[in-house]
Amino acid sequence: MTVSLTLENITAHYGKTMVLEDLDLHVGEGELVSLLGSSGCGKTTTLRLVAGFLEPTSGRIRLGERDLTRLPSHARDIGLVFQTYALFPHLSVRDNVAFGLKQRGIATSDRNKRAMDMIERVGLSGFADRYPANLSGGQRQRVALARALVIDPPLLMFDEPLSNLDAKLRVEMRVEIRRLQQANGTTALYVTHDQEEAFSISDRVAIMNKGRIMQLDTPEVLYSRPANAFVADFVGFENVIEAVATGEEGGMILAEAGGAQLKLPKSHFELPAKEFLLAARADGLLVAETGEGLPATLGLRTYLGRAYQYVCETRAGNLTANGPLGAPLETGANAVLIPQPEQCCVLHREAR
Amino acid sequence: MKHRLLAWGLALPAILLVAIFLGLPVIETLLTTFADPKGAFAPYIKFFNSGFRRTVLWRTMEVAVITTVLSVLIGFVTAWVVANAPAKAKSYLIIAAVFPLLTGVVVRSFAWLVILGKNGILNSLLLALGVISEPFSMLYTQGAVIVAMVYLFVPLMILTCVGVLEGIPQDLTDAAASLGATQWGIFKQVILPMAVPGLIVGAVLVFTGSFTSYATPQLLGGERQMMMGTFLHQRAMVVFDWVGASTIAAIMVVVTLATVLLMSRLARKLNPVAG
């Protein structure tokens, strides 16, 4: 049974502070959507609203045909994986996994069989009689996953499930989560502050800020074509330069920025207006001694391993740009910053 | 809103228990002292005009202060040893401190009755050693009351101080040592300032406990060494002077609350962590 999750015009307050403002979100059947943002952006609030731990001030939450908005949490039938795992310390792995089945009044023998099957599926056979205190972080996470999955919920939700694991295990577990979610075809909502994690496992990602969704798109689109300056900055376009289009010349757009003329291939950029913003990653501005680009005076140089990074003083402001490893340039030297189309994008000025 | 209602609902029975069976009776006791037909403060004027009553109050203060000072000193030094003792010894020492604490006041005061009595152990010992030629009663003296009270409160102080000392992070003393502080310097400049707020909390417990005690002064002080607690009981249950007893109760409440408030403020002020 796959269903979709719909949030309509959700507004939520915490005390007197508004934490979500008129939020709309649709997660399609079998889709995994991540809510991504820094702490306080409203991503966890959204999840807690769907779980029923918070009540929205206004708006509706629907899961398939069911209206969840006023339904008590325990009747919502949602599998939830917590940041702290929230395993029951007084119950064995088996009883932890069987807990949800017990609440559903499933007979002991059937319950144990289903729990054991699920424990096996998450790769923990042999650990069924252990207690959470005797498990490693990764194992606990698997138990939490098994516990949420075994009740066969129409919706799975994850609240920063990997943030307590070390880097290597995080990668391993996120693959595992994606595998199990796709195998079951369960609709899923995933909350995280880790961009790589969100991008790697999601069908779509919603980048949130101050209680609003700034952009909801596939990771690919978010990464290459952010809709506004906030998302651009979030996905790593560190430099935002104000530019004005002045004309065209042989497949290139001519633009003026910081007193210099820039040439941007027409095939890569679709200008929103004559006056626009050019957003560039550090890799999107190549530091070179000569060439056609933004004149800059180089400041502090740092070594990144794959490149040198420079703090650059330009008439368009202070920018961060990378230069090749072969020829490090000295502080105080004059250079030009040449835009690299693949690592740049254009934004509407009002989207700042 | 729903949560707030639920929260208050859960706390309500306990609030009611305190309000009805503590708030109401204690307030009534306090009000009794102001409702005297001879004038609002008549019971207090009577109390402070009576030399005997003033002596009782003064004696109680004196006993409580001496008990507190002795308990804090003995408790802190002992706790220092306990906290720095090897793990095994430490657990036995803590048991040895906890056990008396869990034994009742009556039993522990009774022990001193056996020790200090005319035919008691101390007298037999002193006689045998030839220090004294005939037994004398050490009971019903201020000294007896103080010894028994110190006995009562030292375990409490030891446990409080061990907790305080163990709460001081090792990193801090290590840092002080790395900066060139001597052992004594570390003690004086790091450990003591950090321990003082905890010591004050412990001292308040001892002071209020001894100031309001009943069983110990009753058994070891008797009529001769009347203290506020025994005096209250005598006024209430022997003489049936409830206004007088309420006045004593009110003074005890004021002294106790004032001490707690002043000292907890002082402790907060001296707390280097809270700033």
Partner: protein, 262 residues
Amino acid sequence: MKRKLHPALIAFAVLVFIFLTGPLVIIIGSSLSSSEFLEFPPQGLSLRWYENAFDISAFRRTMGTSFFLAVAGTALSMLVGVPAAYAMARYRVELPGWLGNVFVLPVLIPEIVLGFSIMKTITTGYEVPVLPSLLIGHALLVLPYCVRVTGASLNSFDFSIEEAAVSLGCPRWKAFFVVILPNIRAGLIAAFILAFITSLNDVSISLFLTGPGVSTLPIQLLAHMEQFFDPTIASVSVVLMFITVGVMAVVERTLGLTFLTK
């Protein structure tokens, strides 16, 4: 790394511990005496004073009362105190900060004042019988332990466990029993035991609330001491000490004793 201890400090501590345990040893010794008087060391050994203690019906009766009060008073106090502690830990935002102080009042107000006031207002004023008055007095007396000790384990409690239970289909009220209570068991036991012992040893509250036919063991001991000075008291004291030892063993088993220094 432990600090080096000066021998003088160690000697001092040894003396303090002799001071602490000596009197209790003396009580045990004198309870075993075969003579009519309290003496230490005892001249001859016998258990006659233990027999005597159990022969005196007042001791048997008051011990029963004391146990009843300690169990029922603590139970009553836990019944109202645990939900309050839960509410304060779970709903920190919804409840005012001063509420915690309300439940500490029974230790803040001098016990003897509380006993006197309950006698005056509740027993005499509202004519509540002696036993219920005693029960209420004891429940009040131990309330701070029930709320504070339970609260301490609830404050470190990860309430997402409760949410996990709810998300798995367990109603809130049921989650309290199947998930929260089992996981604060240590705190509950500690609270119960501290409360039980406090109640069992109480003098100042019971002092005013004992009437004809109803008394507690500590009060009976005080009364007995005023008339007799024989080893019976010592033997009753020893029985009480053994109960304490038993309780401590339970504490040690379930929690370890270090929780008392926290």
